[in-house]
């Protein structure tokens, strides 16, 4: 299938600003899904609030546009009720790690089979360019005219510490690498986090004098280096890219299934007549 078959063409041209990195991430994600040959009816995309969250409107998968920061909570609910579906959760940096920070670390801790994509443009774009927990110190934003003093989260280290079993980082510039990493993340069984550095030429770029979209992409190219590369060895200030963690760990839905079986078995052995479901609940369901 062509990637045009995976989008809702009636909503195009999309609403993002000219040169927004989120569009490139959408492009890469569609190609990853296309190359994996996934059935679009088997994919659910949930998103929160923000520029990044508008992505769920453009894809022709099942989609949920939910509350700010709660995309992973909704995704957890969908996955637990229908474990056969693939869950893709693109989030912005603020959505994932400010208001949704707790959902993020707990989803990682459970290692539930969800692909979380952090589209990190280091700013709240939709609301007018306020600084986010990923802006980092010394950056200008509408809420920090004399530059920020807050340190930023390192999404990769945070995810590893929280227990995600697949953690990777790429940029909007490195499209081929990004498609490859997204494919691996989607195929991975367990919680996968892919941080993709994105550009916001409208707010972040303008405030911090990083130039237009193309120059911001050049900046991503010049300030990052592949894991294990000579460039990274020589200059540790570069941001490493690549796959940091890819391990097999018990997946939440499978573990939950095992508990259900154990509980069923125990109830059958102990009191064979007693049903697993609370009879009161069962009764109320019948009367409805």
């Amino acid at each position: 299938m062509a990637i045009k078959d995976y989008i809702r063409q009636r909503y195009f041209p999309q609403m993002w600003c000219p040169g927004c990195g989120h569009g490139i991430i959408l492009n890469s994600l569609l190609r990853a899904v296309d190359e994996l040959g996934l059935d679009k009816n088997g994919i659910v995309m949930t998103s929160g609030i923000g520029c990044s969250a508008r992505i769920s409107g453009y894809v022709d998968f099942h989609s949920l546009h939910t509350l700010h920061g709660r995309a992973l909570a909704f995704a957890t609910g969908v996955k637990l009720s229908k474990p056969e579906l693939k869950l893709l959760v693109p989030m912005g940096d603020g959505d994932a790690l400010a208001i949704g920070g707790n959902h993020f670390i707990h989803a990682a801790r459970r290692n539930i089979d969800i692909t979380a994509i952090v589209m990190n443009n280091r700013i709240y774009g939709m609301t007018g360019g306020q600084y986010s927990p990923l802006s980092g110190p010394g950056k200008k934003a509408t809420t920090a005219p004399y530059t920020t003093i807050d340190n930023e989260f390192d999404v990769v280290n945070l995810s590893i510490a929280a227990g995600a079993s697949f953690v990777a980082r790429s940029t909007a510039y490195h499209v081929l690498e990004c498609i490859d990493i997204l494919k691996k993340a989607i195929q991975h069984k367990g919680f996968s986090v892919v941080e993709i550095l994105s550009q916001c030429p409208t707010h972040y770029g303008r405030k911090n004098k990083e130039g237009d979209a193309a120059q911001m992409l050049e900046f991503q190219k010049n300030t990052t280096a592949k894991l294990g590369s000579k460039a990274l060895e020589n200059d540790p200030t570069l941001i490493p890219r690549g796959i940091f963690v890819d391990i097999d760990a018990p997946e939440y839905c499978e573990e939950y299934d095992k508990i259900v079986h154990r509980a069923m078995k125990a109830s059958q052995n102990g009191k064979p007549e007693e049903p697993l479901v609370n009879p009161l609940i069962q009764q109320s369901c019948v009367t409805q």
């Binding site: 040169g19 193309a214 190219k221």
Partner: protein, 86 residues
């Protein structure tokens, strides 16, 4: 590996916002922004079909349509073009 042969650049002018990413990163300077701030392929004969414009377009507005090269041409284009800088 034989290089793909260009058929055409399909540019959706309704979707293109003229951000210039494709123009900036085209290794052969095939593309330009016109007076209406939309991208046009001004030198299609130089195109090496790396498709980086298509992959990096945030608006899904450009598609490089290619065809397999003829059997006679297949041998001579064996240069492996680097598709991505590091």
């Amino acid at each position: 590996m034989a290089r793909l042969k260009l058929k055409e650049h399909l540019i959706n002018r309704d979707w293109c916002k003229g951000c210039g990413i494709c123009v900036h990163f085209c290794p052969k300077k095939v593309l330009e922004i016109d007076s209406q701030e939309k991208v046009v392929a001004v030198r299609p004969e130089d195109c090496i079909c790396c498709k980086l414009c298509e992959l990096r377009c945030p608006d899904l507005a450009i598609e490089v349509v290619t065809e397999q090269p003829d059997q006679d041409d297949a041998g001579k284009d064996s240069i492996n073009t680097s598709r991505q800088g590091d």
